[in-house]
Subunit: 280 residues, 2 copies
């Protein structure tokens, strides 16, 4: 059983595997070279296929795939396949990598440091996610919609309230009329009742969705007032009653989410609206 070369450590990520393959391709027997070439040329096939389907496609036996994986220190083919799948999943996580190297340096970091690094990485990931998820056209439509509104009603409760309150602050500085809804109990509905179809609303709500926010957004929509919203799922009650809606998936650290990505989005929206107005 000299199959598993003990000298080489088992590759932990796709890049390591790739290097290992390139490095050792000279000393591999014929069929394994064939597999190596196929693997690097068709990584997606490896990620999605089954051993049998890949074997056919690469013109080898399934057992050869297993042997190939074992040559590089894996338990079997499945272990190797995980790396190919992780590659598709992660795509963006150079941040996680940086974080991992940070944590290797000092063996015993204070817990607070780990938490801090976790939130930093989560923030990066969240921002990448929203950058990829927001369609420029939809964003432009939302900006147009809100820019021509007489008054912009900002609907947000609880966790999303800090975002709307910052938007209200910024709108104030930018001389854009807006009305912050959700501050003191009771007067919200009275304020919203004054809205006309010349106005518009921007609603923010994350799971678990505050029922008032959804109800208020629905009410606005039913009165013909355009509603733009920011939420975290296509299943959000906001999604169905909004003229335009955007999905932001804040990455979490240990179950807690910061609002980093939402804040960036909110500011981009706010400034874009002001800019569009300024230009006429």
């Amino acid at each position: 059983m000299s199959d598993t070369d003990v000298k080489q450590p088992v590759p932990q990520d796709f890049d390591a595997l790739r290097s290992a393959i390139l490095e050792r391709k000279g000393e591999l027997p014929k069929r394994l070279t064939q597999v190596a070439a196929y693997a690097l040329d068709h990584p997606d096939e490896i990620a999605f296929g089954t051993a049998a389907s890949i074997a056919i496609s690469a013109a080898v036996q399934p057992s050869t795939l297993v042997r190939f994986a074992q040559h590089f220190g894996f338990d079997g083919f499945s272990g190797l396949q995980l790396l190919f799948r992780a590659r598709l999943r992660e795509r963006t996580s150079s941040y996680e990598e940086r974080l991992r190297t940070l944590e290797q340096d000092g063996a015993s970091l204070a817990e607070s440091t780990t938490i801090f690094n976790g939130f930093v990485a989560a923030a990066h990931r969240s921002i990448d996610a929203i950058a990829a998820a927001v369609e420029p056209d939809a964003f432009e439509r939302a900006v147009t919609l809100l820019a021509k509104a007489d008054t912009i009603y900002l609907i947000a409760k609880r966790r999303s309230y800090p975002i709307s309150s910052y938007m209200a602050y910024a709108f104030g500085k930018l001389k854009v009329r807006c009305q912050l809804v959700g501050t003191s109990a009771g007067i919200d509905d009275d304020m919203l009742a004054m809205a006309t179809s010349k106005d518009a609303a921007f609603a923010i709500s994350f799971s678990p969705y505050a029922s008032e926010s959804a109800a208020q957004a629905r009410m606005m929509a039913s009165r013909g007032i355009p509603v733009v919203s920011l939420t975290d799922s296509a299943f959000s009650p906001l999604a169905e009653c909004s003229t335009e809606w955007f999905e932001v998936v804040e990455a979490d650290h240990a179950g807690f989410r910061s609002l980093s990505a939402s804040m960036a989005f909110a500011m981009a929206l706010t400034v874009s609206i002001a800019e569009k107005r300024r230009r006429g």
Copy 2:
């Protein structure tokens, strides 16, 4: 076998499936709704996972996943999974394409897109900056200081208020007693007057510094109450009266700053404090 609704054709690609799910989500029974929400929120999991692992993650039975697939006309779960895999294959290209538009801000892009990209980039820079600027030891000291406080007073006005209000929300969830200062005019000083040296304060202020915040922080400090602060310059009035202070330089886009980095910092601090308390 009225499971497979013959009215609906079997979705042939992910978008068709997505539309079908959103369209019919109202008429789905409870567990199937749960699966529907999970599927749209975690498409990658569906693509790679096994029925068993997905079932656990979505808190349903494997059989429910099969039934869900059959409700939408598929033979079984596997048929549905193929669509999620195909999506992942195609997405990777368009996804990277989107991220590439972040770099170019040619005239061809809508202004709102340029602004959006600008804030995304600024957020990344800000977070990198704070990750580099915060010293783990100082952070740990700040956490310790605040964790042993009886009540944490959160001092913030105007631009920094969204941060403290989110912290107050999170502290509430985490059962950490805190007092949000700066909300309604007048009672602030009365609230702060009740603070004792067993308490602590966390102050946030950015240029141009609200004079009240600085005054309140100074007052607390002079009464022997530990003050931790987050500000944007060593010359900030907060820096000189704080036991520990941290500098966050939010990168700006066209003169406007989002609060992305401050939010990440605030959440890290909040969670660290709660965690330290929980441990004794």
